[in-house]
Amino acid sequence: MAALLTAYSSDYSRDMVNDRSAPAADEAAWIRQAQQADAQAFERLYRLHVGRVYGICLRMTGNVSEAEDCTQDAFIQAWTKLKKFRGDSAFATWLHRIAVNSVLGRMRKSKRERERIQVVADVAPPTLETGDSGELRDLSEAVQRLPQGARHVFVLHAVYGYSHDETGDMLGIASGTSKAQLHRARRLLADQLQEQGFSE
């Protein structure tokens, strides 16, 4: 990681910038530096976390363009709010919460989500490049067909591993509602996947 620090430049290779193995000490140092308006340190944090942030945005929105916008918006907001980060939660959790807020904010503003849901009732959704293969790809596509509320809960709870309390907190819903939405998502997914031989 020391090599990464010394070799750092804004155009270093994607392999290097996607290094997810930064020790916690490095991340903590980058956070401190970024809080002092060090843009390069913040870029390191971006490189470290962009995959999961983009993953959350992509799975929640089901749309590459919106996921890119939400990801950028989340990191811009994180930059402006970084001084308020006190480390009460993990930096990733704090960042994911901002990303979820960005997604929800955009969806509230946009009618595209409603139109998209309407469209998928009749037309198969575009396949998202999520990196899943085989049965997991079928499941990933089935998740994209879920209604918004159920999809958001399923993504945060079942895919990203947040508890119902955390999921509810992020989405602004009660923990019980999160559980109900998960139950609904599982039922809908089971129905969808039944024909494809995927057993619950």
């Binding site: 994607r14 996607n18 997810r20 962009v50 995959g51 983009y54 990191f75 499941l139 895919v159 955390e166």
Partner: protein, 182 residues
């Protein structure tokens, strides 16, 4: 962090890819935004509020003046200066015909103002300034937020107020301005 069930579906879900690389590098856009000073969220709202206050104040003052002051002899402007369906064009620029008519009315205003008593003349001039300040403020706000429908409507209203004022004081024009003229 998790309280997930361990049934097959949830197990499979937990194996879905969580770390997905965007198809393009999003950092340059973020870096650009980081370099741009953040504009306070209230700036456009404050500009809108100021514009509304100016418009309402100006409109009320104009009405007050119009009621208080006996109507001066009205000079008809040349028919060729009448305009319809003016267009503000790209970037809220006024259309040529609109500009011509506006200039003619303002020129007429200079003549008519001289007929007024000094006190009334000062009041009218002050109120024209109020309305024109509102136009300036709204245009400034539109530069920051060009697609703001409320501001567009306010700009249209401000021009209407200005024309109403000019018409009341100096002359008569036939104008039809519509929301979609902007």
């Amino acid at each position: 962090m998790t309280d997930r069930n361990d049934d097959n579906l949830l197990q499979a879900a937990s194996r879905l890819t969580t770390d997905i690389s965007p198809e393009r590098d999003l950092w340059p856009g973020i870096a650009r935004a980081m370099e741009t000073p953040q504009r306070a969220w209230w700036t456009p709202m404050l500009a809108q509020a100021a514009a509304v206050v100016l418009l309402v104040g100006g409109s009320s003052a104009v009405t007050y003046i119009a009621v208080k002051q006996p109507a001066p002899p009205v000079a008809q402007i040349a028919p060729e200066l009448a305009f319809e369906q003016v267009s503000f064009g790209t970037g809220y620029e006024l259309g040529d015909e609109f500009v011509k008519a506006r200039h003619a009315l303002i020129a007429e205003l200079e003549v008519e103002l001289k007929r007024l008593a000094p006190t009334s003349r000062a009041e009218v001039a002050a109120n024209i300034t109020v309305v024109q300040d509102a136009i300036y403020e709204i245009n400034a706000a539109l530069e920051q937020d060009p697609n703001n429908t409320l501001l567009q409507q306010q700009l249209l209203s401000a021009y209407r107020e200005e024309l109403t004022l000019l018409r009341r004081v100096g002359g008569l024009t036939r104008n039809i301005m519509m929301r979609n003229d902007i």
